[in-house]
């Protein structure tokens, strides 16, 4: 890895770990392995969002040309968000692509992601299904995102209605993850979800 990249990452880690956000447990970064090529990030769900109280794990890969090229970031924790793939965790955020600037740091990236969670952009979606739900049925989107945050990211609110629907699908031999994904994409219509799974 280029010397400048390693130096940058070292200094950025120092910056992040000494920042206010870490002190408030809002964001967190740690190294994975000895090299500085891969890091593990963690962001807290921003308040007043369906993700509040949940913590999302991120995979950060530092390219060789860092900081002149953006780091590759994706969600490890499953999340129901229009700009994040509900399957792969890929993030659609301009600063992680063409809008990257060399002056940006890990801290700014994580804070940007937090901001993204707080203000989803359904018009520039990564996951079209989620984006449509977000636009058409914001209420269901909110509940679904909350439910996903609860199921995968340790969110506090439990939706018993959704839980029951998942259990009924599970009784049919569907895995919990598949059941949740199908129900979420079918706006929690059990019949449609069943049809989708078994068609």
């Amino acid at each position: 890895m280029a010397n400048i990249a390693v130096q940058r990452i070292k200094r950025e880690l120092k910056e992040v770990l000494n920042s206010d956000e870490v002190a408030r447990c809002s964001i967190h970064v740690e190294l994975v392995g000895e090299s500085f090529a891969e890091l593990k990030g963690e962001i807290a769900g921003p308040p007043d969002t369906p993700y509040e109280g949940a913590r999302f794990q991120l995979e950060i890969k530092i390219p060789e040309t860092y900081p002149f090229n953006p780091p590759k970031v994706r969600f490890v924790t499953k999340i129901w968000h229009p700009n994040v793939s509900s399957v792969t965790g890929a993030i659609c955020l301009d600063i992680l692509k063409h809008q990257w600037a060399a002056a940006m740091t890990l801290r700014t990236v994580l804070l940007s992601l937090q901001a993204l969670l707080a203000s989803p952009e359904p018009d520039d979606p990564q996951d079209a299904v989620v984006a449509r739900q977000c636009k058409d049925k914001p209420q269901i989107f909110h509940l679904t995102a909350q439910h996903w945050a609860n199921a995968y990211a340790g969110g506090p609110s439990i939706n018993t209605d959704y839980e029951n629907k998942i259990r009924r699908l599970k009784d049919l031999g569907v895995t919990e993850m598949n059941a949740r994904a199908s129900l979420s994409s079918c706006d929690w219509d059990l019949e449609r979800a069943t049809e989708q799974i078994f068609s």
Binding site: Q7, R8, R11, L13, L17, P67, F68, Q99, A101, A102
Partner: protein, 459 residues
């Protein structure tokens, strides 16, 4: 941070306005110097490159009022796009112009930085920079791990407990294993003891049987002792007294005292490894000295007996007559080996080493005594044995006397006959010459007839 950023923004606007007014580098450097004049003491924050997060080395001041290291600037231009890494403003025009006029580096600012932070600049150029960074960096890594008060102790205790349990388990396992092993060993030992007892039992039974047999044999011997001359001692008795072989040799020497001329010849065959060779040899020798048939047979058979007792078979004697007839040149008469006489001579021989036998028997009895505890019986047996041996010795003396007389007689006869033998051709005692063979005998043939050639020696 916020106010400085705001000021940057205003400066950017000012610069852009000025650049719009097509003002050149000199103007910009004036601008920089004027700004540094406003802030004569540079803040470290302001001269830290936003790209490498280090102190700016050879700073480059972009038209958007953003500064960065020259190295970061070049990397940015090469690897990224031609826009400011901070505000993404296009810098391609400025870049081209600055490169052309060689005014990329803001020398004024660079001098100021060098003046104000000489030690930092030095460390930046120095080699030990990286290590220092690492030292700076690594202690900060575990900062996020905080233990509740008493948590560590609890963890420690838990671990201790776990270790203790593990230890306990292991000890128990070990104990169990050793107990199993002990049980197994005990079983093995019991088995061994049982086997030993069995062996002991067999041994005692064997001993009893052996004693009984010895008794019977002694009785037989006693019976035969009355008619010593006729009774040859059974050859199967010999192997039983293997230990007395070495003692037989001195006894044989006693005989040889009476026949001093043959003593050497007798010793040799006893050392001979083959069982057959000595036999034939002896018969040959006997043929040479035909005048003493009895004594010679006696000695030859002695050696046979030695061989027999060593090799535990009596065959050589039976085989002996099968050897081709020898026409010894010195003797007119062909004497066939008389195996029948062997019995007598053997008997004599055994009689001679009677003392040894007694000794053997004594030993045997002594060894038997403690086991049986039948002292009286042993005494009786020994008495019987002694009696029998005494008789044998007497007989032996008589035989020896007779043998000597016979030898003398034969010697005389031989002397008288030898001078009178007619060796002339055609006579009865003529030399038997080899017939002339036309074809040279092949090697095979010579191999096939060694005994023949031996039996017809040239004169």
């Amino acid at each position: 941070m916020a106010p400085s950023r705001r000021s940057t923004v205003t400066k950017v606007r000012a610069t852009s306005r000025r650049s719009k007014a097509s003002e050149t580098n000199t103007d910009q450097s004036q601008n920089v110097s004027s700004s540094s004049e406003e802030k004569p003491f540079l803040l470290l924050e302001d001269v830290t490159c936003k790209i490498c997060l280090n102190l700016m080395v050879k700073p480059v001041s972009l038209p958007c009022r953003h500064d960065l290291c020259y190295s970061c600037y070049t990397s940015c231009v090469e690897k990224s796009n031609l826009s400011c890494p901070m505000c993404r403003k296009r810098i391609s025009v400025w870049c081209r112009q600055a490169t052309k006029t060689n005014t990329v580096i803001n020398e004024v600012l660079w001098q100021q930085i060098q003046a104000q932070f000489p030690e930092l600049v030095a460390s930046q150029n120095g080699e030990g920079k990286d290590e220092k960074d690492v030292e700076d960096f690594f202690p900060t890594v575990p900062m996020h791990q905080f233990a509740e008060p008493g948590e560590l102790l609890k963890e420690f205790e838990l671990e201790q407990e776990r270790r203790r349990k593990e230890e306990e388990e292991r000890r128990k396992e070990e104990e169990k294993a050793s107990a199993d092993l002990i049980a197994e060993l005990a079983k093995e030992q019991a088995e061994l003891a049982r086997a030993e007892a069995e062996l002991e039992r067999i041994r005692q039974a064997d001993e009893a049987l052996a004693l009984e047999l010895a008794e019977k044999e002694d009785n037989i011997r006693k019976l035969r002792g009355s008619k010593i001359v006729q009774t040859p001692i059974s050859s199967r008795k010999r192997p039983r007294k293997m230990s007395s072989d070495s003692k037989t040799t001195p006894a044989a020497k006693k005989i040889n005292k009476f026949f001093p001329s043959r003593s050497n010849e007798n010793d040799e065959p006893s050392r001979s490894p083959s069982a057959f060779a000595p036999v034939t040899e002896h018969f040959q020798k006997r043929d040479i000295s035909m005048s003493e048939p009895r004594s010679s047979s006696c000695t030859s058979l002695e050696s046979i007996d030695q061989e027999v007792s060593k090799r535990l078979h009596f065959r050589p004697i039976n085989a002996a007559p099968l050897t081709p007839p020898k026409n010894s040149p010195g003797n007119s008469e062909i004497v066939k080996p008389q195996v029948v006489s062997a019995a007598k001579n053997l008997n004599q021989l055994y009689g001679l080493d009677g003392e040894n036998l007694t000794e053997d028997l004594k030993q045997n009895n002594n060894s038997d005594e403690p086991i049986k505890g039948a002292g009286v019986l042993a005494e009786e047996l020994r008495e019987m044995e002694r009696e029998w041996l005494r008789k044998k010795l007497e007989q032996e003396e008589a035989d020896k006397e007779l043998a000597r007389k016979l030898q003398e007689e034969l010697d005389q006869e031989a002397k008288s006959t030898r001078s009178l033998v007619n060796r002339s051709k055609g006579s009865k005692d003529e030399y038997q010459l080899r017939k002339i063979v036309k074809n040279q005998p092949t090697i095979e043939a010579s191999f096939q007839r060694p005994s023949l050639r031996k039996s017809h020696p040239l004169p």
